[in-house]
């Protein structure tokens, strides 16, 4: 049997939507796991692809980007750019044979506290299935 572990999911959350959504989940006292490690960013497009790679190579079991729904970006088009960059990183992971399931992008608005809690729960479960990130112990990375 796989040893139970608490995943660490580095989460880049957009200030205007997903981070506020996470706040709402908290004030509404919705349960979600402690695996989510939130980092507030001004926009999902602030997340340079190297942030995802650094988090992955440093041993994050999952990396989550949370942004406003397409069309709702506070800066109008930031999340469209974030989506393209995310697709590129994911494609690089697939091409190198790395576990691209450890990367996730989700659109969660400021009013979607329940959705934030649901995504946090589901993604944590998915990562628990996947197990610990093998990069965590690798000194060569």
């Amino acid at each position: 049997m796989k040893k139970e572990f608490t995943p660490r999911i580095t989460s880049f959350l957009c200030k205007w939507c997903t981070y506020t959504g996470a706040d709402l989940a908290g004030t509404a006292r919705l349960q979600y796991p402690t695996s989510i490690i939130p980092i507030q960013v001004m926009c999902s497009s602030r997340v340079d692809p190297v942030f995802l790679i650094k988090a992955f190579l440093s041993g994050s079991d999952g990396v989550l980007i949370g942004g406003c729904h397409p069309g709702d970006c506070h800066y109008e088009t930031g999340n469209y750019h974030a989506r393209r960059r995310f697709a590129i990183v994911k494609s690089v992971f697939e091409s190198l044979g790395l576990e691209s399931q450890r990367l996730k992008l989700s659109w969660i608005s400021a009013s979607e506290g329940p959705k934030f809690a649901r995504v946090a729960n589901e993604y944590t479960e998915e990562i628990m299935e996947l197990g610990e990130n093998p990069t965590r112990k690798n000194i060569f990375l």
Binding site: D48, P49, A87, I88, L96, G97
Partner: protein, 364 residues
């Protein structure tokens, strides 16, 4: 658009054209490969005086530097320049122009059907002269020359895209048989006005290169398979890049990596004591120099979709990492996400600068 029949070797004819352009004052400078008589080697040269063209060898399977990269700094000088470029150099320059790192305004581009280039280690002490007869013979038969760069053998974009003048080098360039200079643009017609040679209305026919294309695609399949079918995986990644010494040579010769302050050269990567302390508190040991795999993965996400596969990076790697093959393979996938072909069209924006509202619906 017309064409000029070449009655001598392709290289000599292009040299004649450059001389004509310089003498007639139509250009201020020419960029071309040139022989270094002192050591029987070659390098890329910027020439303003016609007599200095004597040693020029415009068509030669040698790339000492990606000319697209060099052109970016001189194309905006306001001077009129004619440049002889290999197809991938031209594509790299197109990518740079998209990034506002160069301009076609005062530039006449001359390119040719490329048979691939030899690795730099073979470019010394007259070794190229020994290899050339066999090389010419091989490409005239539509086969792929051995000894050339791995990404050259696997390159399907050997026919220039967007060149003002395309020289079709059928392989027998020494005899000049079957070599034609195609004038593709108004600019080319204008510049060659008054230049001698028999004119014809012949159009460039890519189908003549079908055999070469098939051979290259077969080579590409083999090259990509050599980096394993589903990618190297984490262990394979260590195998591939584990030897990396972190010199960033691949980065500095890359024509696409133009950023004056690369993230990986910035203060973010000044390793200091707190960095080591924090890292070692988590893992107990740290490979030195750190972040070499991070560096390659970072570059893959930053520019692989624009990779033209010129192979400079593999060629300069001191420890023999097949950087270019990995970048070409990954780059084709990242570019395919957006139906993008690097260097195809200067009007086409790079994928990270634009977006469509309706796309990538499986994300998010």
């Amino acid at each position: 658009m017309s064409s000029i029949v070449i009655d001598t070797s392709a290289s000599r004819k292009v040299k004649e054209l450059l001389r004509f352009l310089l003498d007639s004052g139509k250009i201020d400078a020419a960029v071309t490969m040139r022989k270094i008589p002192e050591n029987n080697s070659y390098d890329l040269t910027l020439i303003t005086d016609a007599p200095d063209l004597d040693e020029a060898v415009p068509v030669i399977p040698v790339m000492t530097v990606n000319a697209g990269q060099v052109l970016s700094s001189i194309s905006t000088s306001g001077k009129k320049i004619a440049a002889v470029l290999k197809p991938c150099e031209l594509r790299a320059f197109v990518e740079l122009v998209k990034r506002e790192q160069g301009s076609f305004e005062n530039l006449l581009t001359i390119s040719y059907t490329c048979g691939g280039v030899f690795p730099l280690e073979l470019v010394k002490e007259g070794q190229i002269e020994e290899l050339l007869p066999k090389y010419d013979k091989t490409i005239s038969k539509g086969e792929v020359p051995i000894n050339t760069r791995d990404t050259c053998r696997a390159c399907e974009h050997f026919i220039p895209m967007n060149a003002d003048i395309t020289v079709s080098v059928s392989g027998e360039c020494e005899s000049g048989k079957g070599c034609v200079m195609y004038l593709n643009t108004e600019k080319a017609e204008e510049f060659t006005e008054g230049f001698g040679g028999e004119r014809s209305e012949q159009k460039f026919d890519p189908s003549l290169f079908q055999k070469t294309l098939d051979a290259r695609l077969a080579e590409k399949g083999k090259l990509f398979a050599s980096i394993t079918k589903d990618g190297p995986g984490l262990d394979g990644l260590l195998d591939l890049f584990g030897k990396c010494v972190g010199c960033h040579g691949c980065n500095s010769v890359c024509p696409i990596c133009y950023c004056l302050l690369c993230d990986f050269e910035s203060a973010n990567f000044d390793y200091n004591l707190p960095y080591f302390e924090e890292y070692l508190s988590r893992r107990g040991a740290l490979r030195l120099p750190p972040d070499t795999i991070f560096f390659h993965m970072g570059r893959l996400t930053h520019m692989s979709f624009s990779c033209v596969g010129c192979g400079m990076c593999s060629d300069v790697c001191p420890v023999g990492i097949p950087v270019a093959a990995v970048f070409k393979k990954t780059g084709e996938k990242t570019a395919a996400l957006f139906d993008y072909v690097p260097g195809r069209d200067v009007e086409e924006s790079i994928p990270v600068m634009v977006y469509k509202e309706e796309e990538l619906s499986d994300i998010g």
